[in-house]
C-alpha cells in the first residue's frame, strides 16, 4: 500500500472571488451576450444542418403565441382607435383614425407588443429549458462529447425567433387595424370604407424595398432585431443557470426582465435611426 500523504501542496492557492461593481457586472453581462450573439452568427453556415430544429422552433413559437398576439393585437388596435378617435372627433378629424391606427400598429405597437409576448412566453421557455439542461449537467455532457452547443441549441432558437417575430408582427398589425375598424364603426361613427381608405393611404408603398411601405418594413425590421435579442438573452441566461430549480427560476425571470428592457431601449434607438437620423 502506498501512503500518498507525503505529497504536499507546493503552496496554498486561494482565489478570492472578484468583487465587481454593479456597472462592471452589467458591462460583463452585456459583453457575454454580445459574444454569444457573434459566436452564434459565425455559425449561420450551419442553418441547413439545423433546418429541422429551426422549423420546430418557429412552429412552437407560433403555436405558443399566436392566440395571445391575436387577442392583444385586437384590443390594442381598439384602444388606439378609441383614444385617438375621441380626441379627433372634437376637431372633426375622425376620418384620420385609420391613418393613426395603421401607423401606430405598423411602426410601434405591432413589433413592441409581439416582442413583449415573445419574451414572456417563448423567451422564458427557452431560458427554462436551457437552464434545466445546465443544472442537470446536460450542457456538460454536450461539452465532453465535443458537441457545439451554439450550433445545436442557440442557432435554431435564434434563427427561429428572428423569422417568426416579423410574421407574428404582421399578424398583430393586421388584427390591430381590424380591431380599430370595429371601434371606429361602432363607437365613433366612422364607416369601414373611410377608415380602411385612410389606413391604406397611410401605408402607401414608397417605391423602395420591394415597394413595401416604410412604416411596415421599419416595424418588421424592428421585430427581427427583437427576435434575435430575445433569443440571445434567453439562451445566455439559460446557460448561466446554477443551483437547481431556484437557479432555473432566476434565469427565467432575468431573461424576461432583460428582454423587455432591451426591447424598449433598442426600440427607441431604431426609431431614431430610421425616422430622424
Amino acid at each position: 500500500m502506498k501512503d500518498a500523504s507525503h505529497i504536499q501542496p507546493a503552496e496554498e492557492v486561494v482565489i478570492a472571488p472578484a468583487k465587481a461593481s454593479g456597472f462592471t457586472s452589467f458591462l460583463r453581462a452585456e459583453g457575454e451576450r454580445v459574444e454569444l450573439l457573434l459566436s452564434t452568427l459565425r455559425r449561420l453556415g450551419h442553418i441547413g444542418k439545423r433546418s429541422r430544429l429551426i422549423y420546430e422552433q418557429m412552429f412552437l413559437s407560433g403555436i405558443q403565441t399566436l392566440h395571445v398576439v391575436l387577442l392583444v393585437g385586437l384590443f390594442i388596435g381598439m384602444i388606439v382607435s378609441l383614444q385617438t378617435g375621441i380626441e379627433l372627433a372634437k376637431l372633426g378629424q375622425q376620418d384620420q383614425i385609420g391613418t393613426i391606427v395603421a401607423i401606430s400598429m405598423a411602426r410601434e405597437m405591432g413589433p413592441f407588443i409581439t416582442a413583449t409576448i415573445l419574451a414572456a412566453t417563448v423567451g422564458s421557455a427557452i431560458a427554462a429549458e436551457l437552464g434545466t439542461m445546465s443544472v442537470s449537467n446536460e450542457l456538460d455532457a454536450l461539452e465532453v462529447m465535443s458537441i457545439d452547443r451554439l450550433s445545436l441549441l442557440v442557432l435554431p432558437r435564434l434563427v427561429g425567433l428572428a423569422l417568426i417575430a416579423p410574421l407574428l408582427t404582421l399578424v398583430c398589425d393586421t388584427i390591430g387595424i381590424i380591431g380599430g375598424a370595429f371601434v371606429a364603426q361602432a363607437q365613433l361613427n366612422v364607416g369601414y370604407e373611410m377608415y380602411l381608405t385612410s389606413a391604406i393611404d397611410a401605408l402607401r408603398p414608397t417605391g423602395l424595398l420591394l415597394n413595401v411601405p416604410k412604416d411596415l418594413y421599419a416595424g418588421l425590421l424592428k421585430a427581427l432585431v427583437f427576435g434575435v435579442m430575445i433569443a440571445t438573452i434567453a439562451c445566455n441566461e439559460g446557460f448561466k443557470a446554477k443551483g437547481g430549480a431556484l437557479g432555473v427560476g432566476r434565469a427565467t425571470r432575468a431573461s424576461v426582465r432583460d428582454a423587455i428592457i432591451g426591447v424598449i431601449v433598442i426600440n427607441y434607438f431604431m426609431t431614431w435611426f430610421m425616422y430622424q437620423a
Binding site: M1, K2, D3, A4, S5, I7, Q8, P9, A10, E11, E12, V13, V14, I15, A16, P17, T132, M133, S136, N137, E138, D140, A141, L142, E143, V144, M145, S146, I147, D148, L152
Partner: protein, 252 residues
C-alpha cells in the same frame, strides 16, 4: 503546442493539482496516475473533490496550479481542436445520466456520431443498436429519458460514452441513487466492459461493493490530496487512521 502523446505515459497524470472555488479550496496538491488498462477508483468523503477530479480529467475544469496530463498531453494547454480530439478518445458517464431530455434513448446514444462524424444514418443506427445490446437494453431506442428508470439511464449513459470506442472512461458515481440489485448489475456491466473492451477507467464512487467489483486500485482523497492508494483488499483492510475513521473502525 502541447507535447505529443506517448504510449508509455500513464493515461492520466495529475501532478500537484490545486483547485479552489472562491475561497473554498478543493484540491490542494493532488497527484495520481492511471495506467493503461487499469481501473482506479477514487473514494472519499462528500464534497472532497472527487467529481472535480473527473472534470479536470475531461477538461471541463482547469487547475489553478499544477498539471493534468491525459494521453501524455497537458489538457489545460490543449487547443480547442486538440481537446476535441482527446475527448473523442474518452467517455464520461454522469451521475444522473445527463441524457438530453428532448432526445430518445437511441438519439442520445447516436448524438456524438451524428454531430462529429460523417457516418451514414444506417451505419449510425447499427452502431447504436450494438451499444444498446452491449449494455443489455436492446429494445430501448424509442423510449424518452423521462420514461426510463435511474438504472436504465445509467446504462444509456454508458452506451453513449462507449459509442465512440473510447480508450478511457470516467464514471461519476455509477451506483448513486440505485437500489443494491440494480447497482450490482451496473457494477457487473462496468467490469464486463473493462474485460471485453480493455478500456482504462477512472471511477468515483462511495459504495464499497462497487469498488470491490470494478477497481484494480483504490485511491482515498481527503483534504485535497491523495491520502492512500492500494489494491482493494489491502485498502479495505488498512489500518491507516484516516481510513479507519472513514469506515468507522477507529472506535472499535
Amino acid at each position: 503546442m502541447s507535447a505529443p502523446s506517448n504510449n508509455t505515459a500513464p493515461v492520466i497524470r495529475f501532478s500537484d493539482v490545486h483547485k479552489s472555488f472562491g475561497e473554498k479550496k478543493i484540491l490542494a496538491g493532488f497527484s495520481m496516475e492511471l495506467e493503461k488498462g487499469q481501473t482506479l477508483a477514487i473514494m472519499g468523503p462528500s464534497g472532497v473533490g472527487k467529481s472535480v477530479t473527473l472534470k479536470h480529467a475531461i477538461g471541463i475544469l482547469t487547475p489553478d496550479a499544477g498539471s493534468v496530463e491525459v494521453f501524455g498531453q497537458e489538457i489545460s494547454k490543449a487547443t480547442r481542436k486538440e481537446l476535441a480530439e482527446m475527448r473523442k478518445r474518452m467517455g464520461y458517464v454522469f451521475q444522473e445520466g445527463a441524457l438530453i431530455n428532448w432526445l430518445s434513448v437511441g438519439d442520445n446514444v447516436a448524438l456524438p456520431l451524428r454531430e462529429n462524424t460523417d457516418l451514414k444514418e444506417d451505419e449510425i443506427r447499427e452502431r447504436v443498436q450494438r451499444r444498446l445490446e452491449l449494455v443489455h437494453i436492446p429494445d430501448a431506442w424509442e423510449l424518452m429519458p423521462s420514461e426510463i428508470s435511474g438504472g436504465m439511464k445509467k446504462r444509456v449513459g454508458i452506451a453513449r460514452a462507449l459509442i465512440t470506442d473510447p480508450e478511457l472512461i470516467l464514471y461519476d458515481e455509477p451506483n448513486a441513487g440505485l437500489d443494491p440489485e440494480i447497482a450490482r448489475s451496473i457494477n457487473a456491466l462496468i467490469r464486463e466492459l473493462q474485460e471485453r473492451l480493455g478500456v482504462s477507467s477512472l471511477v468515483v464512487e462511495h459504495r464499497i461493493d462497487c469498488i470491490r467489483t470494478v477497481a484494480d486500485e483504490v485511491l482515498f482523497l481527503d483534504g485535497g490530496k491523495a491520502v492512500v492508494q492500494a489494491k482493494p483488499e489491502e485498502f479495505f483492510n488498512s489500518s491507516h487512521p484516516r481510513l479507519a475513521r472513514f469506515f468507522g473502525k477507529d472506535s472499535a
